[in-house]
Structure formats: structure tokens, C-alpha cells
Amino acid sequence: MQIYRRRNGWSIAADALTVLISVIWLLPLIASVFMSLRPASRPLSQDTLLWALTAADERGIFLPWFTLENYERALLIAPWGSHYLSSIIFVVGTLVVQWFTVTFAGYAFARMRFVGRDLLLYLILLQLMIPAGVLLVQNFATIRQLGLYDTHIAMMIPYWASAFGTLLMRQAFREVPIELEEAARIDGANLFQILWRVYIPLSIPSLLAFSIVSVSSHWNELLWPLIITRSPEVRPLTVGLNQLFTTSDTGAAYGLLMAGTLMVISPLIVLFVLFQKQFINSFASSGLK
């Protein structure tokens, strides 16, 4: 869909609005980059604004103000490498298992008839409506009994079953023409082949949408990993960021905080910039409904 065929007043206004919104949305990022380069001995004040990376000294000579010291210090505060790895394990390990569970359950609820189907679906859907946060203490006890405390598995296991994904895949699978499945059956395909060759290729957008929701929510997660883990090798990035923030008790070291935050997010940002075309296009043009 492209609404504007001709350049007219509306289209210019829309371009201007696009630029305006983008600039507003980018400001926090730009501000944090500048702040991260600023020495701790130069906090903001109205005389020394953020954008000024140079200033006159007492002899009137302009000297640069930027420094990498914040990054050097932020590096020391937490074991970022292992936090990073752990975050990736957490997010990927959750997602890969979810792919299987939501596909199987989605198919069963979409295309199979069995006793108690609706009741079981509603039971599963309850998961969407009960915030995981309020079950923290109870779930901790369960993890403990399973002997999984302080492991990557402990972080992932409560999310392996996903009501949201099940629902999404059920809807996607219901859109797949039943004739395709029948044709595959006639060719002698078993259930897994049918899922792999018929259902999944036709439901990629939903699977992708679910994957994005899953990855972004677990990438953000702090409270559950903080409680269920304690070794630096197991803890994810958010715990490191949290440590960075709590360090500011003795003076909000915003430069340090921004440096650490940027360090954590920059690989993702680079990845996104590199692949954003593929990412958004494949997601968008495949047409999630």
C-alpha cells in the first residue's frame, strides 16, 4: 500500500511529522551517548550543557571534554561477557523449546477433536491472565524442589509452555486450508512431516510475531532471573544493568550508567541496523493478520 502517489501538501506534512517523531524518539539515545562520554567530574549544569564536548579553560583555550573512562569503569562493574552469553542462552533456549510446544499444542487445538478440548484450552489461556510476577514465591519453591535453582533451565522452564503462542498458532493453523493437509496425508506424510511441510511454512508470520514477543519480553526480564539465580555465569544482562544502577547510590554517576547501558544495547542495535531491512520486511510483507 502506498497512499501518496503525488507530492502534495499532505505528503510533505507527513514527511515532516516523520522526521519530528523520529528526532524526539532518538533524543534519549543521543543524550545518553553524549553523557557516556562526559567525565564524572563534569556533571551537567546549565553552564556546561550536554552538547558541549569542549570548553574553555581558565586561559580561554578550548579543550575536549570527552573521555572513555566511563566505559572503562562500567566494564569493571559486572562480568558483561558471561551476562551476555547467559541472556542469549536464556532467550534462545526459551524460544526454541517454545517453538515445539506451541506448534504441537496449536495444531492439536486447531485441527483435532478430543474430549475436553475447550476446557483444556481455557485452562491454558489462564496463563495469559495471571501475571507471572505474583507467582514468584510459589514458583521459587517449585524450582527449588526440582533442584534447578541457579541454572539456565530454571530461568526458562516456566516459559516453555506459552498460552499466548498456543493461541496464536492455533489461529494461524486454522487459516491453513484443510485440503493441503489431506493432500499430504494421501502422499503418506506423517504428522510431523505435515506440520513441517504444510503448517509451519504457511504460518511463518505468526511464528515470527510470537518469537519477537517472546524474545523481547525475556530479554527485558529482571525479577525472575534475579531471584532464581545467583552465580554471575548464569545471570543475564538485566541483572548487570541493575547492578550498574544500584551503584549510583553514592552519586548518580549518569555517565557511567549511560556507558554501561550503551555497552549492553549496542550489539543489538548494530545487529538491528545491519539486518533491519530483512527483519522488518520479512516480518511486514509476510502479512501478519
Partner: protein, 438 residues
Amino acid sequence: MIRFVRWLGVSALLAGSLAFSTAQETITIDFYYPTAVDAPINAIIQEYADQFMAQNPGIRINPVYTGTYTQTRDTINTEIAGGGKGPDVAVMLTTDLYSFIEEGVIIPLDDYIATLDNPDAFVADFFPALWLNSLDEDGTIWSIPFQRSTPIMFYNADLFAEKGLEVPTNLDELRAVAAALTEPDGSRWGLMIPVQGTFPIWMFQSFAIAHGQNLVSDDPAEVFLNTPEALEAVTALTELGTVDGVMPAGGTAWGDTPSAFVAGQAAMIYHTTGSLTTILNNAPFTVGTAFLPSGPAGADGTGFGAPTGGGNLYIFDTPDNPRSEAQLEAAWKWVQFLASPEVQSDWGTRTGYIAARISAWDIDPLKSRAEEFPQYTVARDQLATAGKEFSSYRAIDIQNIINSTLSQIISGAVPLSEAEAVLANAQAQIDNLLADYR
């Protein structure tokens, strides 16, 4: 006599455990610590752990960073409630003492102290004010001071010299001096007190003590919030912003206050001594430190008195997962090590916390640091007049009540004219909680 018998028992067990530990059995001590200062804490703690392990081959220290004090406490409580064993040793707030005692998850340390060569000298080498919150009402020692602090006043000495001003010693002088240092265009405040947000209770407590009534006494079932002194204190604190106009109305945020001070936007601030190292490192001007100004309390009207604060070392032993004597003994060794004059001297220098041992101040690196920067000694000397930090049964809930109430008044969400009613309601909530203990 009972104590002596217990002592004998413990010594016998200790002797046994020592023999046991030489038999190549490695004991692991999980050590939880919350970070609260801007220093590479993980590296420092690991350094101490390595030193300790080199001296004690049978013991392995496993240091675990556990977030803020609150997160650490929640982690410990969740673990123990979920059937876990929790840490072996943890640095936790002194204000958590009664919660841990009531839950039965920490052990008293008197028996361990009694096994030392000279128990009395050990106890006497800590500043007495730091023991106030380490004992229960019967005098049993439950925790050992480790990263302790107290609020002090920091001032921009260059500015004082330039304007020819004297450092204020009481609240009236404070108002006058702060007024002289406040710039009307908002570029500089005379004073900043971090009572917005996290825990206004700590700064408020210093005002309450200076007005003649601490929030707590020796009785852990008693809290004094609805008193004329508390009302005066909270009024004085609020009016510094709204009436005197020498501090931002509603106070400032905890972490922003030292930053604003370093940036020259505040001439004086109240803050923890734990910030001293950071402030000295960053401020482009001469930093002065002083006692908190006195209030109207006392016969001569010089009611000094800041509370103490910070974290103590606790040894955990939970009913569901009882530790062996050898395990507890190893934990005690680690506690002793962290509280030793050598470690305290180093820790105080690198973080800014008050080194808790008197003798720590006579050895390097703290000795030379204090000679070079006499600012470090102010907090230590102020301990002589320090009051007891908040401590009671149901301390978590009661501090929440007090913080929330103070926040309502100081932020202006509730006008000062209704402050008395709000304090009375809060006191009623507190008394409801404490009714079980009276």
C-alpha cells in the same frame, strides 16, 4: 555460668571441627553482599576472598552480588521460604536485625566472640555507636559492624571562603548561611537534603534526634512518630524548601544530591559518609565535611545526633537446613576476617564507609588517607554523638509506613496543616502492628 558451659561446648565442637577441616574437607561459604557505592565492589570482595582462602585452605568463599539491600533481603527471604538454605554469611542492614531474629534464621555471636583470645578487647575495638544496632535489648550480639555509615554535611569550602561564611553548626545558622548561598535564578541551592524518594526516614531521623526525640528507644516494641518533636522536625525539614526557600521543595533524590553538589549546584548537602570517596574524587573544588548542624534539643539547645546506618555481617543458620558446627565456624572466621582492622582499614579507604574498628585508623592505608584528607575523620568523630538507627519489630513494614508518611508531607502531597493528622494515622498503623509485642 550457662554462658561458660555453652562456651565449653562450642570450644569442644570447634576443636573437633578444626581437626575435621584439616582432613581435606572443603567448606563453602556463600557470601551475599549488596552494592551501594561507586567502586568496583565485586573485584574488591573477590580480592578479600582470595586473601582469606590463601590463609584458610579448607574454606572456599563464594561471593554473590545480590543487588540492593532490599533485593538482597528479598532474595534471602525467598530462598529460605522456598526451602533453601540462604547465604552462610550476608551483609544486611542493621535495621533487619529483629526480622532475622524473629524468623530464627541467624545465630547469636556471643559464644564465638567468647572463644577469642581477648573477647573484651575485640568488642571494645569497635566504635560504641556501631554496636547500638548490632545487639538486641538483652545485649546479645547478633551481628558485626562491616560497612557502616552515618550522614554528614558536605560543603563547598571554596564558596564559603569566597563569601566569608562560617560553616553552620546549628539549624538557625544553617538557614541563614544556606540563604546567603542560594542563587535566585535557580543555578545554585544553598542546601540539598535527599529526602525525596527512597528512604526519607534516615535524614528525618537526624532531624528528629536534633529536636529531642529519636524514633526508637531500647524497646523494640516502641516507635515514636506521633510526637510534638517529630512534627517540629518534619515541619522544619519541609519548610527549608517551601518557606525558607534554601533547598528544592520536596527535597532531592538520593543519588542526584552528590552529583548536584559536585556540579556546583548545591553549596551544602547532607549525605552518607559512604559518598565521601566519590565526592572527593570528582569535585573540582575543596570539599569540607562537618557534623550535621544541631537542633533545639538538650539543656543547652545543641541537640546533635545523627543516626548510624549501613550494613552488618550476619551468620545464617536456618531451621530447615541446619548447618554443621564446622560450617558455622568457617562462617565466623570469614566474618572475623572482614571485620579485622586490616580489612576495615582497606575497605574504609576504598569505599568511604566508616572503618568500624578503632585500631583500623592507626594502620595504613586508612591512616595516611585520613592524614591527607582530614574529611574522613569527621564521620568517625560524629559517632560520639550518634543516635540509634531505626530498629523495631516489624521493621520492614514500619519503615515503609514512616517513609510513605514522610513522603506525603515532604513532597507536598499533603499540606503541612494536615501533617499532625497524617502522623497520628501512621502511628495508629504502627501501633496496630506492634500490639502483638507489648
